[in-house]
Amino acid sequence: MVPESTLENAEKKHQEASAERTRTGRFYRPNVDILETPDELLLFADMPGAKSGEIDIRFEDGELAIYGPAATRQEADKSFLLVEYGVGDFYRTFRVSEQIDASKIQAEYRDGVLCLHLPKVEAVKPRKIAVQAH
């Protein structure tokens, strides 16, 4: 028999997650580079023109979600001569199989690029084992 409070929390989490995904309007999937070093995962996401104060990063149950609302740029009273891209919010999720220490995740937004440091949990870092010769 699951205690009531646990059920309530689980439901709220689910609602929170879907609240973002049911937003109307266009989402753009930012392009990313993901690298792995012995100590951490590094993620770079292209999010030009995002509102840096409102970038949302979540890491729960091995799923990483990044969201960056676009600062509004287009004014109404102009006539377009050429349009090759649209402007909108950025959103993307990732399944992360590595063991990450969520409390140590660091994020930086510079020049339109979101850089995430996802440090690995100590136990999974590769340890060099010295081979003793006889």
Binding site: D33, D46, A50, L82
Partner: protein, 146 residues
């Protein structure tokens, strides 16, 4: 609706080509690229308001020293370099962003006052303000009655 776009990536360039094919077919492209049908990097939006033309491009990861802008007559040249990631001793899980040089020339629908052009680069968005040259502005011609 989720869209995939990255002008530095071959797939993004292909998509750009397809966009351009359809754009030309429907005849809505007022500005023809100077080069042939090759994909254009970076993607730009161009609009005008009164006597000023604006060119905006998304160039995430670039600082002002990575971009070179010049104007001659009615042509705007956009050159730049997207730096590579400096990380060594790392394995790539994904590599979508791309890196390298770009060089693009836009032929604008009016002569530009070269000395009044301004460019701003904020959070990876480059905005170039191009005031039209005096000679390009429409002149009212008085009609004399005889």
């Amino acid at each position: 609706m989720v869209r995939y776009r990255n002008r530095f990536h071959p797939l993004g360039q292909f998509r750009g080509e397809m966009d351009r094919l359809f754009g030309d077919f429907f005849g809505c492209s007022e500005m023809a690229p100077v080069e042939g049908a090759s994909p254009q990097t970076p993607a730009v939006n161009v609009w005008q308001r009164g006597d000023v033309i604006f060119v905006e491009a998304e160039v995430p990861g670039l600082k002002s020293e990575n971009v070179e802008i010049s104007v001659v007559g009615n042509e705007l040249s956009l050159k730049g370099r997207r730096p590579d990631l400096p990380e060594q001793n790392a394995a790539y899980h994904r590599r979508e962003r791309g890196a390298g040089d770009f060089n693009r020339i836009l032929r604008l629908p009016a002569e530009i006052a070269g000395d009044k052009v301004e460019a701003k680069l904020i959070d990876g968005v480059l905005l170039i303000t191009l005031p039209k040259d005096e000679t390009a502005k429409p002149r009212r011609i008085a009609v004399t009655a005889k």
